[in-house]
């Protein structure tokens, strides 16, 4: 089992906890960005201010909430994960608004991907069933599943809309909606899963990913950090496959009627 949040090791980790004063000092870098935006007349100063303020408020709140949960209120883990899944589902559904019932599709895909992946990790005793493990790992799966779900839903909708002549030719040959949609379903699953696969291929060569960097900054040995990172990558591969599969299957159902017709918004309006 990976020990989460233990360990110190050699090298020079951060020289102590970061204070809110330190955070304030790092605003210097935001100021640089604002100056650049003004100077180049990019017009993003307001956005930057909003982003800076939001990130501060959101993370401070989350920090205190997590601290509260970790200090003996572990039962709230489920609530925290549910809130994350809900927010991710709404975000993903908003991207794919043209898919009828996109909220339900996204909620199903993201929650099953999350529950399934975390369930496997816990059942195999790879990570402990504790708030400190479940919440951060859950957030990683949920984020990845959210992106995959958005991608699969929008890709499938847009591809079927663009290929409706071919789709209807297949339906006319007495194929079921599932058979008729299969080439585009496959393409959407590929597009949903490929980014994670590529990320997994180049991990460490191009980018040192978040979990690993976090552990190293916190003073853990890189050997321990990579183990966590490997689990994270494999978990994301699995989680994304779950999410893509469910999002794809459910989206196909939403884009056809029970009588194996394209839904009205996807049919051409002929003369």
């Amino acid at each position: 089992m990976i020990a989460i949040g233990a360990v110190t090791a050699g090298g020079a980790p951060l020289s102590g906890p970061i204070s809110f004063g330190d955070v304030a000092l790092s605003l210097v870098l935001v100021a640089v960005a604002v100056v650049v935006s003004r100077w180049q007349r990019v017009g993003l100063e307001k956005d930057m201010a909003v982003a800076t303020f939001r990130s501060f408020a959101q993370l401070v709140a989350v920090g205190y909430i997590l601290d509260y949960i970790f200090k003996g209120h572990g039962a709230l883990t489920i609530v925290a994960v549910a809130v994350m899944v809900g927010t991710a589902s709404l975000t993903s559904a908003g991207r794919a608004r043209r898919v009828p019932g996109s909220k339900l599709v996204a909620a199903a895909a993201i929650s099953v991907a999350t529950a399934g992946t975390l369930g496997v990790l816990a059942a195999l005793r790879i990570v402990p069933v504790s708030a400190r493990a479940i919440i951060p790992l859950g957030s990683m799966i949920i984020t990845a599943a959210m992106n995959t779900t958005s991608l699969v839903m929008t890709r499938l909708h847009d591809d079927l809309a663009a290929s409706r002549r071919e789709v209807e030719a297949r339906l006319s040959l007495a194929q079921s909606s599932r058979q008729a949609a299969l080439p585009w379903l496959r393409a959407s699953l590929r597009s949903g899963m490929i980014p994670t696969i590529d990320q997994t291929k180049v991990v460490g060569l191009v980018a040192l990913p978040g979990a690993m960097t976090g552990m190293i900054l916190a003073g853990a040995s890189p050997i321990l950090a990579i183990r966590l990172q490997l689990v994270v990558m494999y978990m994301l591969l699995g989680g994304n496959a779950f999410a893509a599969l469910i999002a794809g299957q459910l989206t196909v159902r939403r884009l056809f009627t029970p009588s194996h017709q394209l839904i009205k918004s996807l049919r051409r309006t002929p003369g």
Binding site: E168, S172, S176, Q261, L262, P270, G271
Partner: protein
């Protein structure tokens, strides 16, 4: 006269109001029936009701006396084959498209059986349209519903397809063909005319 299809008081709505409204017509089982009318009158829409790519918003379409919606839709579509204006080829060879009986079917639609191993997307438009007909005939349908089957073809391949359609109708299939070409309508045994609905703004459905 045996009746194959009957339209009873059919209305189909588009995005900007009805495309067809109060439409009655009968398609006999024998021979070639042409559905004619100016573009935008809803001819294609009516054809799509026959194999339920669309359903009417009001009224019924009867197939052999029963509402098309009472049939298993996949069985209905097997029996009522539709071929569109622009032939659709699926990836792979002609044989992959048409199936087991390819050589015989190619012969029936006037194509050289040697084309069976050709990549389908390398056929000319005229050949592809014949292949699409062969692919439909492979399902042994009772009805062929053709939407402007020669509109994508040049004049020389047009005549050949028209003769083929006539032959298929004479071989006992019910053939329903949408056309805006009055000359082509003369090939038909009966003609169903679709009149355009009066529209507040002309051309609003041209898309």
């Amino acid at each position: 006269m045996t009746v194959r299809f009957e339209f009873r008081d059919v209305r189909v709505d588009g995005d900007d109001g009805p495309i067809v409204k109060g439409f009655f017509a009968v398609v006999p089982a024998e021979g070639l029936t042409a559905i004619v009318g100016p573009s935008g009158a809803g001819k294609t829409t009516l054809l799509r009701l026959l194999n339920r790519l669309d359903d009417p918003d009001e009224g019924v379409v009867l197939f052999e006396g029963r509402d098309v919606r009472d049939y298993d839709v996949l069985e209905l579509r097997r029996r009522v084959q539709s071929v569109g204006q622009v032939p659709v080829t699926f990836p792979g060879t002609v044989r992959d498209n048409v199936g087991a009986d390819t050589p015989a079917l190619l012969e029936r639609v006037g194509l050289n059986p040697a084309l069976a191993s050709r990549e389908a997307d390398r056929l000319s438009v005229g050949e592809a349209q014949r292949m699409a007909l062969a692919r439909s005939l492979a399902l042994r349908p009772d009805v062929l519903a053709l939407d402007e089957p020669t509109s994508a073809l040049d004049t020389s391949s047009k005549g050949g397809i028209e003769r083929l359609i006539r032959e298929l109708a004479d071989s006992g299939l019910t053939v329903v063909m949408v056309t805006h070409d009055p000359r082509q309508a003369e090939l038909a045994d009966q003609v169903v005319e679709v009149r355009p609905l009066p529209r507040p703004e002309p051309g609003i459905d041209d898309r």
